[in-house]
């Protein structure tokens, strides 16, 4: 029944089936809420794709999602689960804020890369700690990255309420970062800033790194079979630390771009769960970089249209989170079914 061509289509088809199934269950929930699913979904996707401001908003939301899910993906390639995107975003935002605030009087051409670099380094430290603990002490990275999230969020909260608080600020946030550290807007009159371009460039660089370089091979080897990798003289420990730092750094860039492109200051809610969405996106993408770009666009669209949907169709915004969770659930099932199927085929 299934031809060879169909098998090639499977990696594209099954995420689509997963999304469709999640949307169908979402529609049932919307009916439960006493609203019309067609009106709700139309409002949701019309806003996020076909209005100018709405699309700008989608790109804005896509920026941190793309950066962070690239981080989850890199770690996943080496078999590491980075659940700490949220904390790494906060730390990255802190790093670039410090450079944006305390380094003054240099041209944007130097200031912007410097602030981005600081965001990367701060995120890399926050991702590197669990990487080190996993590699050297064998502590499960899922739990450590999770616990470090709570620590990072509270640390930033403390900083913006105390030493970094803007003078006479009505609510907790830092002063504005220097103009020379701010990312330019790319769609006039909208929120879309250059961060999305940086994220797309980062995605391309990462593709080369993972798919076309020896390091990428090494990472994949560790992910596929650490014991075999060890026989091939690959240092599994060093690869894990490297990959987790890189993952943290990428999430750090998400925090950096939120500060440098969107808010121009450090604030308490740097991330509203982008780190957790990123896990979902990385799974939805099935390990491919282009998949991550598309999946983060989809998740960004859900987020950007959610409020309009709530206003025009009266469906609570939280339906979006349910749809995201269901998407991951279905993709996990389809991945598992495929694996069982290929195993059976191999036996026949």
């Amino acid at each position: 029944m299934i031809t060879k061509n169909d098998v090639k289509l499977l990696p594209i088809l099954s995420p689509l089936i997963a999304i469709a199934s999640a949307l169908i269950i979402g529609a049932i929930l919307i009916l439960l809420a006493g609203a019309n699913p067609i009106i709700a979904y139309t409002a949701l996707f019309q806003e996020s794709f076909s209005t100018y401001f709405g699309f700008g908003n989608t790109l804005t939301k896509m920026t941190p999602l793309l950066f962070t899910s690239l981080g989850v993906l890199v770690a996943l390639r080496a078999g590491q689960f980075n659940i700490g995107g949220e904390g790494q975003i906060y730390f990255g935002a802190l790093g670039s804020t410090l450079v944006g605030l305390y380094v003054q009087g240099i041209p944007a051409l130097i200031h912007i890369p410097l602030a981005l670099f600081a965001g990367f380094v701060f995120g890399a430290i926050w991702g590197g700690i669990p990487g080190y603990l996993k590699a050297v002490r064998g502590v499960n990275e899922v739990i450590t990255t999770l616990l470090l999230n709570y620590i990072a969020v509270n640390l930033v909260s403390y900083l913006v309420q105390n030493p970094l608080k803007a003078p006479a600020a009505p609510s907790p946030y830092s002063p504005l970062i220097a103009k020379s550290a701010q990312l330019p807007i790319i769609l006039p009159q909208s929120l879309a800033h250059a961060g999305i371009l940086l994220a797309l460039i980062t995605a391309s660089i990462l593709w080369v790194l993972l798919v076309r370089s020896p390091l990428g091979y090494q990472i994949a080897a560790v992910g596929f079979n650490p014991t075999a990798a060890r026989y091939a003289k690959i240092s599994v420990e060093r690869t894990i630390i490297l990959v987790m730092s890189l993952a943290g750094g990428l999430a750090g860039l998400a925090g950096a771009s939120e500060v440098m492109g969107l808010k121009y200051r450090l604030f308490e809610q740097v991330s509203s769960g982008y780190g957790f969405d990123a896990i979902a996106i990385a799974f939805l993408s099935r390990g491919s970089i282009s998949g991550v770009v598309l999946a983060s666009l989809f998740f960004a669209a859900l987020r950007s249209g959610a409020n309009v949907m709530q206003r025009s169709a009266g469906v609570p915004v939280t339906i979006v989170y349910a749809i995201q969770g269901l998407t991951v659930l279905f993709i996990a099932i389809s991945l598992a079914l495929e694996r069982v199927k290929t195993q059976r085929d191999a036996e026949v």
């Binding site: 929930l29 502590v139 739990i143 640390l155 609570p316 989170y321 349910a322 749809i323 996990a332």
Partner: protein, 297 residues
């Protein structure tokens, strides 16, 4: 005298904060002793908190709420078991997916069911001898678990399946069936912890009421070396830390509250660090068991 009062208040607060953790950790213990990772504890806590609150809200009867928590929590366990055992979904991925769905669904349904009635409190479970019933239930379950795990054939089978499923299968044990029971039980117990949150501690359901407690419970489970008493004691330690944090805040000591909030997480982290290498998980933990004909790899 005042000091003594303060101390006994402190102890009570510690126990109160430890109870939901301990239910979740005990649930996690069954699942992980059978060899199935349970990152889904967070989602199970949330499910228990939501279903017990919703049922109590509609029926006015908190006992039915408790029952609903056990039933729905058990079904979440069943889902996790089905995904991990029957479909061979990666156990971490299954747990994470369940957490995401639980968090999305409960917040969505909560807005539909409780809309605007957030001020209305739920009738809680009445206390027995000045202690809430959950504490007695927990103590009973801990004792029962120790007995079951180490003195019954079910316990022996459970541990064998978690340590060395192949050997257990050779001895004629159905690995899948044992794991199914363990994971379903895990869901029932963890969601009782959730019911405690919404029926006793907060007396209402709020979005994200579990607030990472499921993950602390996992840390406690590792810290307590997958032993019912050990993990319950670890939960007490975390409860005591949180209570201390709240006390220090209330006393107005000059420590920023954010650092105090961090404390339980930091201690969980240190606990994991200090015990790494010494705390040995069941050998078969996280490894899907494939029957003979699928065992090429």
């Amino acid at each position: 005298m005042n000091n003594l009062n303060f101390f006994s208040d402190y102890l009570i607060a510690s126990v109160t904060l430890a109870v939901p953790l301990a239910f979740a950790a005990l649930g996690g213990m069954y699942s992980e002793r059978s060899g199935v990772l349970n990152i889904a504890l967070e989602g199970m806590l949330l499910t228990g908190a939501f279903t017990s609150a919703a049922t109590t809200f509609y029926t006015g009867n908190p006992w039915l709420g408790m029952l609903a928590a056990v039933l729905f929590g058990g079904s979440v366990g069943l889902l996790h078991a089905f995904l991990c055992i029957t479909l061979y979904v990666d156990q971490l991925v299954s747990g994470l997916a369940i957490n995401l769905v639980a968090s999305g669904l409960t917040s969505f349904l909560a807005r539909l069911i409780f809309k605007g009635s957030n001020s209305q409190r739920l009738p809680g479970i009445p206390p027995l001898f000045q202690q809430d019933i959950f504490v007695y239930l927990l103590l009973m379950l801990v004792a029962l678990s120790v007995y079951t795990l180490f003195h019954t054939s079910f316990g022996l089978t459970l541990r064998a399946v978690g340590e060395y499923p192949q050997a257990a299968a050779t001895a004629g044990v159905s690995v899948s069936r044992v794991r199914y029971w363990a994971v379903v039980l895990s869901g029932c117990l963890a969601s009782l912890g959730g019911a405690y949150l919404s029926l006793v501690q907060i007396k209402f359901f709020t979005e994200g009421i579990s607030a990472g407690k499921g993950f602390i419970a996992i840390a406690a489970l590792i810290f307590g070396r997958w032993h019912p008493i050990g993990s319950t004691l670890a939960c007490l330690l975390f409860g005591a830390t949180e209570a201390l944090q709240l006390r220090i805040q209330a006393l107005g000591v000059d420590i920023p509250y954010q650092f105090l909030i961090m404390l339980p997480y930091a201690i969980a982290l240190l606990a994991l660090l200090g015990l790494a290498g010494k705390s040995i998980p069941p050998q078969g933990l996280g490894v899907p068991y494939l029957p003979e004909n699928h065992q090429d790899k």
